[in-house]
Amino acid sequence: MLVMRHISKVFRTDLIETHALRDFSLEVAEGDFVAVTGPSGSGKTTFLNVAGLLEGFDTGSYSLDGVDTSGLSDDARSRLRNEKIGFIFQSFNLIPDLDIFDNVDVPLRYRRMKTAERRERITSALDLVGLASRAHHLPSQLSGGQQQRVAIARAIAGDPKFLLADEPTGNLDSLMARQVMDLLEQINEMGTTIVLVTHDPELARRAQRNVQIIDGQVSDYRPYESHVRPVREAAPQAAGATT
């Protein structure tokens, strides 16, 4: 369970303050497959970064899998990222100097896992994405779609509860995009909670749940029935309605 309540995040530069998230609330239930859409600059990446503990936030609360994340040390956040979260990036972010096997190995090494177990997990993750035969290729020897599948293998090798993907198909053609989407669905069916940011409505439609972020807020936020609390309901045209 991923629970964000009244989160705000402001980017301050010399000239301007950008309210990337404002009074942002959202819950994602275990096993969910949530597609997040919204206009460019609306705060989707910021949301995902906060959710993935890549960035902090200014006010509000965020608990991940029952752990209140505010006040965690940098090391504790690294550890949570490593154990509970798999990240998939728009531009794959494979390490160019490491072969596929070693790329998938990266998060496992940070978990100080035994060699035999790492080997087993890497092999089965690569099997799942259909790239076991490419284990000793370099990323540059693979197509974009294949690279993204390696990135997915890297994200799931550690068996995280949450998979966060920021426009994972943004750099892929539609065929490759569909393959990546198939893979994500398959992973979701195996029990992993997925939050997918995409601007592709067709892909979004395949998710169980759609969330739209506009101007730093979930435009149609409604707390889950199971969390009956006096939560303020954001107006759909929320832009500027709250500070």
Partner: protein, 404 residues
């Protein structure tokens, strides 16, 4: 734990090796130069620091030159010595034919028989009077000192017999082996017998670069005029004050001569070691510079590696690396580069050391220097890589999503 991380770091490094190879070469050269330079410097420092056997710090030298036609060398030097010896704070003063450790001196050859055949034995000698032993501060370990009545008059030709002599232990050993030298007779170059009446423990003679620097003899003879060289030994702490008094007195006491030079003896010793000192300073400077340049090279490589890998660092952070893991990554990577350099450098240092020892007949390079050099370069490498590594750890994990 580190070995756990090495393999992927190494394989990434090997896929990007140009900079690493250059820096490793730099480390190798630095090590080779460092080790050999330190070795040479150590030898020079040891050479400069050898015990002289002479009380160098408390002795000064005064040289007077008689020029007037009515200058009376014997009378003037007697008066000078009498004055000097009366001066409170003066331990002893002697006339001497030469200044020890100055690079100028006299030498002759002694023989085993009056026929003066064979190679003979080298002797660097000083004409001194009965105060010579005390004025030099050398230590008599056998036999006796000269008596005043044994001091021979000046001998401008240098051909008259000198029946008694005091020698250093090394010279005694060269002349007579391990037997007790006192009372033994040797022969000067003209075949006159010379008896050893005393042995001094140790004294360095005239030429610091000579391998027979300590083959020294003291002859009981008044040094030839009209130049007079006085060696004056003060009680500790008084040398400079007495030097000043002596300078004032000797320059005015007899106007038939001029006082040419008044200098502490350590001036001459330091001048003799000037070249050794310069080489040592030069090598230390070059080595320090090379060390700095090497550190800079390592720093530049690490900085470059951090800069081109910002996104990779962000990604590593995003998938769970702690800051310490990032620091360790770059420190280990740098250590691998330095180690490659150090291994190559050790081979180079041994090679250079061997060549040097052949060419200059230096003893072979001591392995401890190599080990020390390796440790120093490892340290330089880790220090130089520290700041870039810390900077790498500051890269935010959000770089992974924010950079396209």
């Amino acid at each position: 734990m580190i070995s756990h991380d090495i393999r992927p770091i190494l394989s990434a490094l090997l896929r990007n090796r140009t900079g690493a190879v250059l820096v490793a070469l730099q480390v190798a050269i630095a090590l080779a130069v460092l080790v050999n330079a330190v070795y040479v410097v150590k030898q020079r420092v040891d050479k400069i620091g050898r015990p002289t056997g002479v009380d160098v710090e408390n002795i000064f030298v005064a040289i007077s030159a008689g020029f007037a036609t009515d200058y009376n060398h014997a009378a003037t030097t007697r008066a000078d010595l009498a004055w000097l010896r009366r001066l409170p704070g003066v331990r002893a003063a002697t006339l001497s034919s030469n200044i020890p450790l100055s690079g100028g001196g006299s030498a002759t050859t002694l023989f085993q028989t009056p026929e003066v055949k064979g190679e003979g034995t080298f002797m660097n000698y000083f004409d001194v009077d009965e105060s010579g032993v005390d004025a030099l501060g050398v230590r008599l370990v056998a036999g006796r000192n000269f008596r005043a009545d044994e001091i021979l008059p000046e001998d401008p030709t240098g051909s008259k017999p000198v029946p008694n002599i005091i020698v250093t232990k090394p010279l005694a050993k060269a002349l007579f082996g391990t037997e007790d030298a006192v009372g033994k007779v040797t022969y000067d170059a003209l075949g006159h017998p010379v008896s050893v009446i005393g042995v001094i423990e140790h004294m360095q003679g005239s030429w610091v670069d000579s391998d027979k620097l300590d083959h020294v003899g003291l002859l009981p003879r008044r040094a030839v005029g009209p130049n007079a060289t006085y060696l004056v030994r003060a009680v500790p702490g008084q040398r400079d004050a007495i030097l000043k008094l002596a300078e004032e007195h000797l320059s005015t006491s007899d106007l038939r001569r001029v006082l040419r030079i008044v200098r502490p003896l350590d001036y001459y010793r330091d001048r003799s070691y000037q070249a050794d000192r310069n080489i040592a300073i030069f090598l230390v400077t070059v080595t320090a510079l090379l060390g700095c340049v090497t550190a800079l090279g390592i720093f530049a490589l690490a900085t470059f590696n951090v800069n081109v890998r910002t996104r990779q660092i962000g990604t590593r952070r995003a998938v769970g690396a702690r800051k310490a893991d990032i620091v360790r990554y770059f420190m280990v990577e740098n250590w691998l580069v330095t180690t490659a350099g150090v291994v190559l450098g050790a081979a180079l240092a041994l090679g250079v050391g061997y060549a040097l020892s052949r060419a200059y007949e230096l003893p072979r390079l001591d392995l401890y220097y190599l080990i020390g050099g390796v440790l120093v370069l490892w340290a330089i490498g880790q220090v130089a890589a520290w700041q870039p590594s810390k900077r790498a750890a500051k890269v935010s994990p959000s770089v992974a999503t924010r950079t396209v």
